[in-house]
């Protein structure tokens, strides 16, 4: 009990000594100096707001750039269905110039017969098409025939009126039926052999 009391007193005296030791006051100018340093520092709200605003701007610009990049890339990939390519193909078939009947066959990847300036989009499309789809080939003779027909029709060299006017005959006149004469079939009996019946030959 006495030992406990002595410990308690020691604790109390220790605390008093510590309080005395740490009870040092700062100089009177201390707070004023802190105020001066804080006045030199940037205000907290403004700096926080500014930093937040800058970060938001950076994120927004990055998002727009990403979206633009993705759209541009996807646009190039989906080009096979774009009308620019179809235009070039159509132009090749319906050009006003005389077709080269002895020329090459037409294919999707082939250049048009006329000297049409190729656009960058068309070139991109062709390369994209060659990557994405199998090449479709049309027979050269068929192509030449079609071109000749089309341009001949345009220039009046070929008249399609009879073809268009031609109709399928309503009743077909059949030749008279002639009976087929089938001669009677006669079967001759087989001549007996020289040996007797049942004799091994």
């Amino acid at each position: 009990m006495d030992a406990d009391r002595r410990d308690e007193m020691t604790d109390a005296s220790l605390d008093r000594e510590l309080q005395t030791l740490l009870g040092v006051e700062p100089s009177p100018e201390f707070v004023a100096r802190v105020r001066v340093r804080i006045a030199d520092a940037s205000p907290p709200a403004a700096s926080w707001f500014g930093a937040w605003r800058i970060a938001a701007s950076i994120v927004a610009v990055a998002a727009v750039a990403t979206v633009a990049f993705v759209f541009t890339r996807d646009g190039g990939r989906n080009a096979p269905s774009t009308p620019s390519v179809l235009d070039s193909r159509t132009f090749a078939l319906f050009s006003s110039q005389t077709p080269d009947l002895n020329g090459r066959g037409l294919s999707v990847s082939a250049e048009p017969a006329s000297p049409v300036p190729r656009t960058h989009t068309a070139a991109q499309h062709e390369s994209a098409t060659s990557r994405a789809e199998p090449e479709i080939l049309v027979d050269r003779r068929e192509t030449a025939a079609l071109r000749a027909l089309i341009f001949g029709t345009r220039e009046g060299r070929i008249d399609l009126a009879p073809v268009l006017a031609a109709t399928t005959p309503s009743v077909m006149e059949l030749p008279p039926v002639v009976d087929i004469e089938i001669p009677a079939i006669t079967i001759d009996p087989i001549a007996p052999g020289t040996g007797g019946e049942g004799v091994r030959q």
């Binding site: 020691t10 604790d11 220790l14 605390d15 000594e17 510590l18 309080q19 005395t20 030791l21 740490l22 009870g23 040092v24 006051e25 700062p26 100089s27 201390f30 707070v31 100096r33 802190v34 105020r35 340093r37 804080i38 520092a41 940037s42 205000p43 907290p44 709200a45 403004a46 700096s47 926080w48």
Partner: protein, 189 residues
């Protein structure tokens, strides 16, 4: 539209003023705490003031997250302690010089310790005993001795459970007593 802009700007100004006033209040009530925490590590008045200033400037820069009083004080104590340790580690030579001369000088300036040589020696012994404590025990006993903080206040400042703080204070006191007793016994002999 113009009225809205003026209103918005006015609200920002009001917010800034409110923040300034709140920080001024925190500075007024916590300046001594920060100084004493720094002093307990550095034992040099000017260095302690520099470190406390630095801690206040850092607190001001992120004051938007520290507007709660308790949170501010806890953050300030931890920041000051850390900055003081950094300063002390970076200036070992000064520490060696201050351990003898500065204590006596500060004691005279503060008037808390008498001119008596015995008292100064006791203070030196106490500082040595405090330095011998592990950091966890040291910060607990220092905070408990500053401004009469009780266990719950120290627990809040250190963000620790009260039981942990209580046990650390107990162990710290025991070790300090043993150390002081040993030193005084050795001196007597």
């Amino acid at each position: 539209m113009h009225d809205r802009v003026v209103q918005l700007a006015g609200s920002f100004v009001t917010t800034d003023r409110t923040v300034e006033q709140e920080f001024e209040a925190r500075l007024a009530e916590s300046s001594t705490l920060a100084f004493r925490v720094a002093y307990s590590v550095l034992r040099h008045r000017q260095d302690a003031e520099d470190v406390a200033q630095e801690a206040f400037v850092k607190a001001y820069r992120c004051f938007s997250q520290l507007r709660n009083r308790e949170r501010f004080r806890a953050w300030l104590v931890r920041m000051t302690w850390r900055l003081a340790l950094d300063r002390r580690r970076g200036d070992r030579r000064r520490e060696a010089r201050d351990s003898e001369s500065a204590i006596a000088r500060d004691a005279r300036a503060a008037g808390s310790l008498t001119e008596d040589l015995v008292e100064r020696e006791r203070a030196a012994h106490l500082w040595t005993a405090i330095d011998a404590l592990p950091e966890k025990l040291r910060v607990a006993i220092v905070l408990a001795s500053i401004e009469g903080h009780d266990v719950s206040e120290v627990a809040r400042l250190l963000a620790l459970p009260e039981g942990t703080v209580k046990s650390r204070l107990f162990v710290a006191r025991q070790r300090l007593k043993e150390h002081l007793q040993w030193m005084r016994t050795a001196e007597t002999k």
